[in-house]
């Protein structure tokens, strides 16, 4: 046991925190909830990438659930160099 370990308060709190985060994701996925965003993201990216090339990690997809209306926000950053293809298509 190193000196650092001696002063650290056990590893159980880390285990507990990791589990809480992981299980929150897994439970939502099992209920088919948060995965909706994952599926939407994949399909939207597939459609757009057929026409324009872009960096997949420059895409943000957010969903806000409201009482009467929910919004889906898709934000795709397209580099200027290839936006010509976008203009030509119009």
């Amino acid at each position: 046991m190193s000196l650092f370990d001696f002063f650290r308060r056990g590893s159980a709190p880390v285990a507990r925190e990791r589990l809480q985060i992981l299980l929150a994701h897994e439970r939502a996925a099992a209920r088919g909830q948060s995965d909706l965003l994952g599926v939407l993201r994949e399909e939207i990216l597939a459609v757009i990438s057929r026409h324009i090339s872009f960096e997949p990690d420059r895409v943000q997809i957010k969903m806000d659930r409201g009482k009467s209306v929910s919004t889906l926000e898709v934000d795709i950053e397209i580099p200027n160099g290839i936006s010509g293809a976008f203009a030509a298509a119009q």
Partner: protein, 271 residues
């Protein structure tokens, strides 16, 4: 009315078979008619832990396929006459179990016993879902360790969706049994505490079985720990858990760090 219990966990090696044997023997010592059923087809071990490995002639799959009658396959315990074992097959693969066949055998067992305790195989495949299929209640065996807790969470999800009760819109009662608990390591913050596990899984606690050499000693000689050394710490914890299953209110005591003494009263209500 007969109660069908499934002892399940997802993860292997956490103590399902040990707990099935220990709880079965504890209930039988209390005068209940008990059968323990091994669902681990191909990797049966309940016969070994019960000390009946040389008495297996017919098994669950023989009964399902009509090769043997239920009475021929049931092995009566030599120590407790109201405790029986229905072994799994060691050779056939788990596809030999059919949903209809399992339901028929469980229905027949319900007419002969007060408690039918199904020892589930590890995993979330067909063998595990068939073991839980007809359960009225589940005992989820969990070690205070990240992979075991995660798998238990998964199993709890299956109990709420894949069981006959869940499909009828009812709930399978769930009880958490924490095994291999090291009081001193939990006190030092090296092991998830009981409160951590309960908070994460939010399932009522049936009992806490402390890590003990008595468990290995009992399985070495083929005797459930509740028969081998009835005054050992794990045996006492299993006896309490069995009484809670029967609906008795027994205060839950967290095994404390001071050796062998169970002294800290646990405020939480039992399952």
């Amino acid at each position: 009315m007969a109660q069908v219990l499934v002892v399940t966990s997802g993860k292997g090696g956490v103590g399902k078979t040990t707990s099935t044997a220990a709880l079965g023997a504890a209930l039988a010592q209390d005068g209940e008619r008990v059968v323990v059923v091994d669902f681990d087809v191909g990797l049966r071990n309940l016969d070994l832990v019960m000390g009946a490995e040389r008495r297996v002639v017919f098994d669950l799959i023989n009964v399902i396929h009509g090769v043997a009658k239920l009475q021929q396959a049931l092995i009566r315990d030599k120590r407790l006459e109201n405790l029986c074992l229905l072994p799994a097959s060691q050779t056939r693969d788990k596809d030999a179990l059919t949903e209809h066949g399992v339901a028929r055998v469980i229905a027949e067992l319900r007419t002969k016993f007060d408690w039918i305790i199904c020892d589930s195989p590890a995993g979330i495949e067909r063998g595990a879902t068939l073991a839980m299929r007809n359960a009225d209640a589940a005992i989820i065996v969990t070690n205070p360790e990240v992979s075991s807790v995660r798998d238990s969470d998964r199993i709890i999800g299956l109990l709420d969706s894949k069981t006959a009760k869940a499909e009828r819109g009812e709930r399978v009662a769930k009880h958490l049994l924490i095994t291999r608990y090291h009081p001193s390591r939990a006190a030092r913050g090296e092991m998830l505490s009981i409160d951590d596990v309960l908070e994460i899984l939010s399932t009522p606690l049936l009992g806490i079985i402390p890590e003990s050499e008595e468990v290995l000693r009992a399985s070495n000689v083929g005797t459930p720990v509740t028969l081998n050394n009835t005054l050992s710490a794990p045996a006492l914890a299993y006896f309490d858990a069995a009484r809670r299953l029967k609906g008795e209110e027994i205060p839950l005591v967290v095994p404390s760090a001071s050796r062998g003494i169970f002294n800290r009263l646990f405020g939480r209500k039992a399952a």
